[in-house]
Subunit: 211 residues, 2 copies
Amino acid sequence: MNLNDNVLLADIGNTYFHVYDGTHVEHLLYEDALVKYQDKVLYYISVNHHLGAQIEKVVLWKNISSLISIEGEYETMGVDRKALCISHHSGVFIDAGSAITVDVVEKGVYMGGFILPGLKAYVESYKSISSVLDIVLNKELKLEHLPITTKDGISYGIIASIKALIDQQREGKTLYFTGGDGKFLSSFFEEVIYDEMLVFNGMQQAIMNKG
Amino acid sequence: MNLNDNVLLADIGNTYFHVYDGTHVEHLLYEDALVKYQDKVLYYISVNHHLGAQIEKVVLWKNISSLISIEGEYETMGVDRKALCISHHSGVFIDAGSAITVDVVEKGVYMGGFILPGLKAYVESYKSISSVLDIVLNKELKLEHLPITTKDGISYGIIASIKALIDQQREGKTLYFTGGDGKFLSSFFEEVIYDEMLVFNGMQQAIMNKG
């Protein structure tokens, strides 16, 4: 199997279809993706179990999930996380979407990882505890000083706790960020790479190595 | 004002009344506290705005919130956090309840702090993202190795991110834990103090110093 310019790649999540045409990434809803791309050759991976049967029926679309694997993977590991983890030989891979997954890879071997709530889920979580904690994330937050307001105290709690745990995993490895909040979150770290193509790069690697 | 053996202290939260009789702490619902203690002299602080007017009417109960203050406090700082922060001259004070508050005090001066979701709110937060992330916290979790299952990946995300951020604040200071999840959370740290009396100790300090 060889990748050519006419093949589209899709990463199907719980909310969006992410489609890569070889140049850029498009994010669209399932219905819109179906209308726009059902007559195109498209290789996909999907973590969306609800859509499984419907997607399988589209004749020109091919599920390449079985090609995606990494040494050390665990049984229930999402295929998008595996694709992300094979995009580079070593690194800490952070996908900041509805949840934030953090995975560590050393020389092609999966070392483990963890999951944090997504930024939106964090904010909703405080809101569910008390109306006093119902705030909008301060996106201009500075982490140099301890905050002294509720809004900043919550924003700091979210951002600084995520950052503290991710920084512990670095040990000289590169941090690779992707996902809807990946660019924003990466701005709190030094010397990192944000790349919305990472999952697609992993898919390409798998196709070229195993096809 | 002097504290004697007949005076009860109460810390009134959003869910529970915490009553200290000089020996131990009792946690009870508002209605039960009213039945049991309305004929006793009781000094209280409260962050429960819904109950405010009702509690004020109880003749033998006295709101001592105005006595509780700390240099550097901010306007909307909860009175229970202030009481906690004056319980010792210096330290990092962690109250792990429905939310987890972390406050830093140096030589009697409030330096700032932050707020994290409570353990229950974290678990609910993952559940709200996807049914795949609906797990029970692994209370036997070990932090030495990166996890490789969803349950442990979530448990690690919660505990290790809280721990990483709190450890950053230590800088030689003592960590003081209190609150319903305080004992459990403190078990992941080295050389810490868990004490369910901390808020009451702060109230006693305020009464003795200012009364």
